[in-house]
């Protein structure tokens, strides 16, 4: 089969189970395509030789009862992988080789998948364009010099370019859904507490969630089913009944009530986003859903809240990078000097900026005015959703306020970069699941996404809605392999 890398995860699983393809054939195909795609800069660390060996071993004694039998896969470089360098896109972890495995990746290997390498991301997942990575920016396969979104930019680029059949990212304020929207792929941010945070490099612990990224909704559902487990190693992991999302997937969403929040019609929203949203509403109606206008009155306060809560937690989490126990160290005249030089040289500009914001809002005299205030507004934002969900089953919004922008276009203006996450951030603050599906193109031919937000632990419902709408939308990604030499 010559077009192995064009197959979806579900097709590959079926072909391996049906013995039409071996894991070695599949792995070789994705490794070869990845090797020809270096210009995208999607990988930070490649592990191709090991992947091919593991595939060979799998084929010698294939266990075809597994959910991801012999499927090769690259993952975001924020997941700790035992004996394979894990950098979080930072110089400060440039030489860090974990001695343990994250729970989410362990779940994936337990189901038979094979690690191909680690994918590029914004430094410590702080960014919306993959431009803050110490390992350089990533190209969007849609067009040269276009950002793939962030922070899971290597992941979105790799899935859209078919360098990996599926991948996992992490989402603290939109880092799965925004890059999925920018690359014409599907990305799910699960409910907070659904996927274990154990072994994921921490950014903002009350917001971080791992989630699947794929070419279609069905593949996304299958991967979510594998990665979502209760884990006693994560004290915020929640013990609830998890569905077999891919098996229970249905396009029957007749009578589902879908809310349209008027506050998401933000000032200066491009007409093509407005049109996309209207089209989305029509698709949902065509599927039999009932559309209901709702209000989420504190939407405008979500970003300012996020830019207090997330940096505050980050400044605390990143205190561990001191040049003593692991990672990069810069020598200094004394202990304090060593700390200061290590952190000044080891962290990039955006990470330093966020640590400073976080330190300031937590510092004596400012805690109540900023951090406590933000936690109170966070409560109001969550209340908005709780109230809305008395009337509706899910909420439909655009994923982003624009299509992908050019590399370098927003790097000098942090606030305009932050505005990218205006539709995704409220979901993290409220701990809800959200999925972005590709739903159309703008005038330049760049993909645009729609977001479906669900009730807590109701991933099945938003996957079903996405699955039904995906069929009506019938989206085709314009990928012409321009980067392949």
């Amino acid at each position: 089969m010559s077009d192995i890398t064009k197959q979806s995860l579900s097709e590959l699983v079926e072909n391996i189970k049906g013995k039409k393809l071996s894991s070695s054939e599949v792995t070789k195909a994705f490794v070869e395509r990845s090797e020809k795609s270096k210009e995208l800069n999607a990988y930070i660390t490649e592990d191709y030789a090991n992947a091919l060996n593991k595939a060979k071993k799998f084929d010698e004694k294939p266990n075809l009862n597994l959910k991801l039998p012999g499927i090769p896969m690259a993952v975001k470089d924020l997941f700790c992988t035992r004996d394979l360098r894990t950098t979080a896109g930072s110089k400060i972890l440039n030489n860090f080789v974990p001695t343990y495995e994250s729970t989410v990746t362990q779940n994936i290997w337990n189901e038979g998948a094979i690690l191909m390498g680690k994918l590029n991301c914004d430094e410590f997942a702080m960014g919306s364009s993959n431009e803050t990575s110490f390992f350089g920016n990533v190209q969007n396969p849609i067009d040269k010099n276009l950002v793939p979104g962030g922070s899971s930019g290597g992941s979105s680029s790799a899935v859209a370019a078919q360098l990996t059949p599926i991948t996992i990212g992490t989402d603290t304020g939109g880092s799965i859904r925004q890059p999925a929207s920018f690359t014409g792929t599907v990305g799910l941010k699960p409910t907070y507490g659904s996927c274990s945070r154990y072994g994921i490099v921490a950014f903002a612990s009350s917001l971080d969630q791992a989630g699947p990224m794929a070419q279609n909704v069905k593949d996304c559902a299958l991967l979510q089913e594998v990665i979502s487990t209760y884990d006693e190693k994560d004290s915020t992991s929640i013990d609830f009944k998890r569905n077999e999302y891919s098996k229970e997937l249905t396009k029957d969403i007749k009578g589902k009530k879908i809310g349209i929040p008027k506050e998401y019609r933000v000032d200066g929203m491009p007409k093509e986003i407005e049109d996309l949203w209207k089209k989305g509403i029509e698709y949902a109606k065509d599927c039999g859903a009932e559309i209901i206008d709702i209000s989420l009155p504190h939407t405008n306060y979500a970003l300012p809240t996020y830019y207090i809560v997330a940096p505050a937690e980050a400044s605390s989490n990143l205190a561990r990078y001191d040049g003593v126990k692991y990672g990069f160290r810069a020598e200094g005249e004394n202990l304090i000097d060593m700390y200061e030089k290590t952190r000044s040289k080891g962290f990039g500009a955006e990470v330093q900026r966020r640590i400073m914001i976080g330190t300031y809002v937590l510092s004596s005299g400012y805690y109540d005015a900023y951090y406590l205030k933000a936690q109170k507004v966070r409560k109001l934002i969550k209340n908005d959703f709780d109230y809305a969900y008395k009337k509706v089953d899910a909420i439909l919004t655009p994923s982003t306020p624009s299509s992908a922008f050019k590399i370098g276009e927003k790097t000098n203006d942090p606030v305009s970069m932050y505005l990218n996450d205006i539709f995704t951030v409220p979901v993290n603050l409220a701990g809800l699941p959200g999925i972005s599906i590709p739903a159309g193109h703008d005038a330049k031919g760049y993909p645009l996404g729609l977001q479906i937000i669900g009730k807590a632990f109701d991933e099945q419902n938003i996957l079903n809605i996405a699955y039904a709408m995906e069929e009506k939308i019938n989206f085709k990604n314009n990928i012409n392999d321009w980067w392949i030499k």
């Binding site: 907070y192 952190r343 000044s344 900026r353 640590i355 969550k382």
Partner: protein, 95 residues
């Protein structure tokens, strides 16, 4: 509100990140534009609102106090930039 260079120097000290004059000026500009944006929260009266510290409405689970992993010395020390047998090495702290 305005964050001046003196405040930047103070935060930099608390953050253990060294900054020179040029970097301090850039940071002051960035932080001021970000805090202008954050000030929007002051429009809201939150006097009677409970702060939300975690969306996971769960209490910490207890577990039995058992040692589950042993002999981790090599693993713990493996990524250390500087070590001496069983110890992490830092610049001299006590004269």
């Amino acid at each position: 509100m305005s964050i001046d260079l003196k405040t930047i120097k103070h935060i930099s000290k608390l953050s253990r990140i060294s900054v020179d004059e040029k970097k301090a000026e850039k940071l002051a500009g960035d932080l001021n534009s970000i805090f202008d944006f954050i000030e929007k929260l002051n429009e809201l009266n939150t006097d009677n609102v409970e702060p939300l510290t975690s969306v996971a409405e769960t209490t910490l689970k207890l577990r039995s106090d058992e040692v589950k992993s042993k002999n981790l010395r090599d693993q713990v020390i493996k990524n250390s930039p500087k070590e001496n047998e069983d110890y992490f090495v830092v610049p001299k702290v006590i004269e």
